[in-house]
């Protein structure tokens, strides 16, 4: 069965290749068949391999396609490594990807770049699969850059509008900062291990370094830099809200479900190194905690439906980082999976809403859509409930609760992380339901022009089902105590040790979390349904704070001041290229000599004779002096 492993990334690649080469000549019906079909087949293969993998209870599947590079001891192969961690990732990527492809078939039907869109999307799926299946860090980096490229291409998909191109460049350049750090980290890893094979590094690292080693710390922080850039965490989070310029399915697939969680995957994949550098772990946790709170507050103030979701994504990935930071590896991956389901659902539903309202993004101009778009309302409600982690019925509750519990009770946890996470949960609940109430309740402000058809509804329903049911595979100790997911991952990711004195109060934590989520819903209802004037009052009384949060805590302005403007200033100084001045000088010198010598070429015969005379005098004088 493992011989088929290469098919998983190859199928989307083949789809992309066909669409790129023949896309303009294919009929409109064939494009989604190839685009979605290739990913669908890939998902099917994933299912087969996954079934085989679990039923044979293998530790890992390995498949080497070919030797990629072999030079001076660096010999990464084009090889795939399948273990429980990457199985979960490829499962999410192919399935969510497939659903989003189906959705896109209808969503993008009227777009001129129909084939181009599917080609990019297929290429993205292929790159992402290579990223998570790679058995060495070079191939991982290849996939890493591949998804970055596709992200750039898809954010700027509607390139005729300048600000979309700007957003695409911003995303590309900001993530490049992190990627550079990661590349340096890879160089250092190679210097230390003389290999970039992930399994070999994981096996050798504990022998090479003691816990708390400086080298491990530096490498871990550099890898973290890459993860932070890709996953839009503090301080490189500014690109994600602008990345919403891309089509909604892109936001759902790339900027919510898969690519932005590549950072989480990277840290989980190299967790051995992080475990050897406790300070780096702490930094991961702090970044996660700070990001989830900051992004949560920023989400509270946005008007644009998709920007709320973007900040919410940043915030949720913050939870994953927090989980990674306290060593709750499987909890982070669990939250990744659940988040992929419900965030993709929310983005797709938001896309449907936006499409139904003539590309209206402003939530304050929406409203009353509950009756008009019932399917979307109900699926959105399920997604929102899952995001807000409403207790018992939603998958989000189980994944987030696990993180909350482990930030407090895990051996690396502390009360501050827990309080931050709790605050984040409260804010999440408020902005989620603010979004829901503004969009679907109240008076109808914009006329619905387009009711989504089956192609869009089915993926929404499937994702809504997953957002609810997927949570039940991992139940907390206090009730059910089901650990299918973490058991499945345990060969790759070690289980977190729980401090014993907290065991008895787990139910209390769950109660608090549930209470916080429900009170958030109540607050949102208070402000936006029962007394809408309250929110306006609040907004005007804290206008500055509102503005500050609305701009994403002013990070864009700060970076603009710190980096963009000095750079533009330097560029404008160097507009005429300082290095060229040297060569200009040579030219000027040559011109000067030319002028001097051409002055002697006056064309007047007597001048020349005069020259001869002076020369004669000089020669004679010389002869006289010497002789």
């Amino acid at each position: 069965m493992k011989e088929l492993l290469w098919l998983i990334p190859f199928l989307p690649f083949a789809g992309a290749f066909i669409l790129i080469t023949t896309g303009s000549r294919l009929s409109k019906k064939m494009v989604p068949v190839i685009g979605a079909g290739s990913v669908g087949l890939s998902a099917l293969v994933t299912l087969l391999i996954g079934y085989n993998f679990i039923s044979t209870s293998s530790a890992s599947f390995h498949f080497t396609a070919w030797q990629w590079i072999d030079i001076a001891g660096l010999s990464p192969a084009f090889a795939f490594h399948l273990d429980p961690l990457s199985l979960i990732f490829i499962f999410v990527i192919t399935f969510v990807g497939f659903l989003i492809h189906i959705y896109s078939a209808e969503f993008m039907a009227d777009d001129d770049g129909y084939a181009r869109f599917f080609a990019y999307l297929n290429l993205f799926v292929c790159s992402m699969l290579i990223l998570v299946l790679a058995d060495n860090l070079v191939l991982l980096y290849f996939g890493w850059e591949g998804v970055g490229l596709c992200s750039y291409l898809l954010i700027g998909f509607w390139y005729t509008e300048e600000k979309n191109g700007y957003a695409a460049r911003k995303a590309f350049i900001v993530t490049r900062v992190g990627d550079t750090a990661m590349a340096i980290g890879l160089f250092m890893l190679f210097q230390n291990f003389h290999t970039l094979n992930i399994q070999e590094i994981a096996a050798q690292a504990p022998q090479l370094w003691v816990t708390g080693s400086n080298t491990a710390l530096i490498i871990a922080l550099l890898l973290l830099g890459g993860a932070v850039g890709k996953s839009a965490q503090l301080p490189l989070q500014t690109w994600l809200p602008d990345a919403m310029a891309g089509p909604s399915p892109v936001s759902a697939l790339i900027h919510a479900a898969t690519m932005v969680t590549a950072g989480v995957y990277l840290i989980a994949r190299t967790h051995v190194i992080f475990e050897l550098a406790p300070i780096a772990m702490l930094v991961v946790g702090i970044i996660g905690a700070a990001t989830l709170v900051i992004a949560g507050f920023a989400a509270l103030t946005q008007f644009d439906l998709k920007r709320v979701l973007a900040y919410s994504t940043i915030s949720q990935i913050g939870y994953m980082f927090l989980a990674l930071g306290v060593g709750a590896w499987s909890a982070a991956i669990f939250h990744f999976m659940i988040h992929a389901f419900f965030k993709a659902l929310l983005f797709l539903a938001a896309g449907a809403v936006i499409m139904a309202l003539h590309h209206e993004h402003d939530m304050f101009k929406m409203g009353g859509l509950k009756k008009k778009l019932p399917v979307i309302y109900w699926t959105f409600l399920i997604g929102a409930a899952s995001l807000a982690a409403l207790p018992i019925v939603t998958a989000g509750f189980y994944s987030k609760d696990q993180i909350l519990w482990l930030t407090l009770a895990g051996e690396n946890g502390n009360i501050w992380f827990f309080l931050m996470a709790l605050l984040g949960a409260f804010v999440t609940s408020i902005y989620t339901f603010r979004m829901l109430f503004l969009t679907f309740f109240g008076k109808e402000k914009t006329h619905v022009s387009h009711v989504p058809g089956r192609g869009m509804n089915i993926p929404l329903l499937v994702l809504a089902g997953l957002s609810t049911l997927a949570g039940f595979i991992e139940l907390p100790h206090s009730f059910g105590h089901l650990t299918i997911f973490s058991d499945f991952l345990s060969p790759v990711l070690p289980a977190v040790k729980v401090q014993e004195d907290f065991e008895s109060i787990e139910w209390m934590i769950q109660l608090i979390a549930a209470g916080v989520a429900i009170s958030g819903v109540y607050v949102a209802q208070m402000f936006y349904v029962i007394k809408p004037e309250l929110s306006d009052e609040l907004k005007s009384s804290a206008a500055d704070l509102h503005k500050f949060w609305f701009s994403g805590w002013g990070f864009d302005g700060l970076y603009n001041f710190l980096f963009v403007r000095p750079f533009v200033f330097l560029a404008s100084i160097n507009k005429n290229d300082i290095i060229d001045k040297f060569y200009d000088g040579l030219v000027a010198l040559a011109n000067l000599f030319n002028r001097i010598f051409s002055f002697t070429q006056s064309g007047i015969l007597r001048w020349y004779i005069m020259g001869i005379v002076i020369g004669g005098i000089l020669l004679l004088s010389l002869g006289l002096i010497n002789g």
Binding site: M610, V613, G616, I617, L620, L624
Partner: protein, 175 residues
């Protein structure tokens, strides 16, 4: 003998000075003929009668006549003299004159500091010259013949009054 040499030399120098300072070119040419005749005398005194004859025939005769022919062909008017006056201003000639005087001073210094061994001035007649010319210098004579030929062809070619043919690229530049 010596007196005649100095008188002839003085006449040559004075008439040459008159040549280079005249405004009217015909006057200048007359002084030039005088200068050539004086030099011919000097040649004779120095014992070179053949050279003296050639000086008179070719320089004072042929070359001056040639120049006069050209002047006649150019058909210069009285304005030409005024033009010469305008052209020959002190600021034009002072610089070159100073340079030339320096050169002259150096020449005089070199010549007068020469060590000379005494020898008697002997007449070298046309026969000796002719023998030498068609003996050891026969190659030089042939080369001179070719030079004269080239001079004739060149003068004919350059002196021809042909219709002005302008290259098509230069048509716009010319008036």
């Amino acid at each position: 003998m010596q007196i005649t040499f100095y008188i002839a030399g003085a006449i040559a120098v004075l008439s040459t000075m008159m040549v280079i300072t005249r405004f009217n070119i015909i006057h200048a040419l007359l002084y030039l003929v005088v200068s050539f005749l004086a030099l011919a005398t000097v040649f004779f005194i120095l014992g070179a009668p053949f050279a003296a004859a050639l000086e008179i025939i070719i320089y004072a005769g042929a070359i001056v006549v040639l120049i006069i022919f050209v002047i006649m062909m150019l058909n210069l008017k009285a304005e030409a003299v005024d033009e010469e006056k305008r052209w020959l201003t002190p600021q034009v000639w002072i610089g070159p004159a100073i340079l030339s005087i320096i050169l002259l001073g150096e020449l005089i210094y070199i010549i007068s500091s020469m060590e000379t061994t005494g020898s008697i001035a002997q007449m070298v007649d046309a026969k000796a010259v002719g023998k030498s010319l068609y003996g050891e210098y026969i190659l030089g004579v042939e080369l001179s013949g070719m030079l004269l030929m080239a001079g004739i062809v060149g003068a004919y070619h350059l002196g021809r009054q042909k219709k002005k043919v302008i290259h098509r690229f230069l048509e716009d530049v010319e008036e």
